[in-house]
Symmetry: C2
Subunit: 247 residues, 2 copies
Amino acid sequence: MSGISSIDGRLFGVGLGPGDPDLVTIKATKIIAAVPVVAYFAKKGARGWARAILDRWVTDTCLQLRLLYPLTTETHFCDPAYVEELRGFYTKAEGAIATHLLSGRDVALVCEGDPLFYGSFMHLYVRLKDRFSVEIVPGITGMSGCWSAAKAPMAWGDDVLSVLPGTLGHAALVRHLGAADAVVIIKIGANLAKIRAAIAEAGRLSSAIYVEHGTSETETIVPLAVKTGDHAPYFSSILIPGQGRRP
Amino acid sequence: MSGISSIDGRLFGVGLGPGDPDLVTIKATKIIAAVPVVAYFAKKGARGWARAILDRWVTDTCLQLRLLYPLTTETHFCDPAYVEELRGFYTKAEGAIATHLLSGRDVALVCEGDPLFYGSFMHLYVRLKDRFSVEIVPGITGMSGCWSAAKAPMAWGDDVLSVLPGTLGHAALVRHLGAADAVVIIKIGANLAKIRAAIAEAGRLSSAIYVEHGTSETETIVPLAVKTGDHAPYFSSILIPGQGRRP
């Protein structure tokens, strides 16, 4: 591990799970209680449910480093200015974390769900991994939280399960919906009408389940076919369970 | 919930995670410590790593119900006699658990990984769910444990991630490997040679990572291209990380 100093602090990427504070792992609670610095991503104006978990497990002397996302309203990833702004944000966050690590302080960067599964943690991991020692603590994914809350057995036997971002185009959604036995669609938000049309075209509307805020107190679970309106929060998901072999 | 009596016990399907006893959730430990009966699946002659987790969290007075799988060596799912034997096993297990529930005792049926993701728990869930109150506690999946151990960021931005059982045929593997950005192949075992050939045919051998016993003390992580031999345990997996957008 050339280039990594043993006197520097270590970086922990810690998954906090899908929302219910009791769905955090023993390992995550131990690390959060032990490190002198906990860093977390936040959006302006939103307290974030991760705070409830942190409040329970951090020590009073722990320094909390808030990494505030740039405003994302009405901008898109294909907008070069937005990409540039995000890049600047990650570079600044990298610097803030590196300062602590270089001072010998361990840092836990916590995140919703699992750190390496569509997580913002990955953007800092790739920036810091060659200079510092990093340990990853997996978390319960949002999708596991959703299918557990919906009590929907998702994948059986030889089922192929595909995770599809709702940001994909209509044709790609239809194609993937037709190829997989079990499907989880994430990142719903403003894409709901398009996703619903793709699911209907793939002939899978009758088995699709809509889950909003899974495992939290505001959880909503309904068949997609009866969900009215095309509004959905970004952190909602759609589950189409597999029907694989079962003795 | 007609047909479900409030004086009967409740069934908890509890995921224990990928292997590391510290990767169990707070919720799982609370339930295991509270219930009078813990049921678990076991294979003849194998103690099973789940025991280490149970030993730490069950109370002394907790009754432990071992559900012993029928022998599976040299038999296949397509063998009708094997399917019949499995069906008999699940029916017997259903009866054993129902007896406790009907006596008003809560039962936690624990399992590796996540209960509703390729888990044996599902076979008992579908048999018991209409008669008893059931709660599902998600667990860290084996694949999350593996990509965390390998420190492999798996899915970014608009990546499609597909989970492929290694039991699929060569042509199906090649097709799915070509369609997804990120791929996890589970159930390796005797299928390794076939899987390796399919990955090579799909042109993805150079980015494939082989993980054996992820998060356990006997963990092995190597590029698939340098793994020698065609032997692998059933609970190994192959990861092909996505390369989606990153600012």
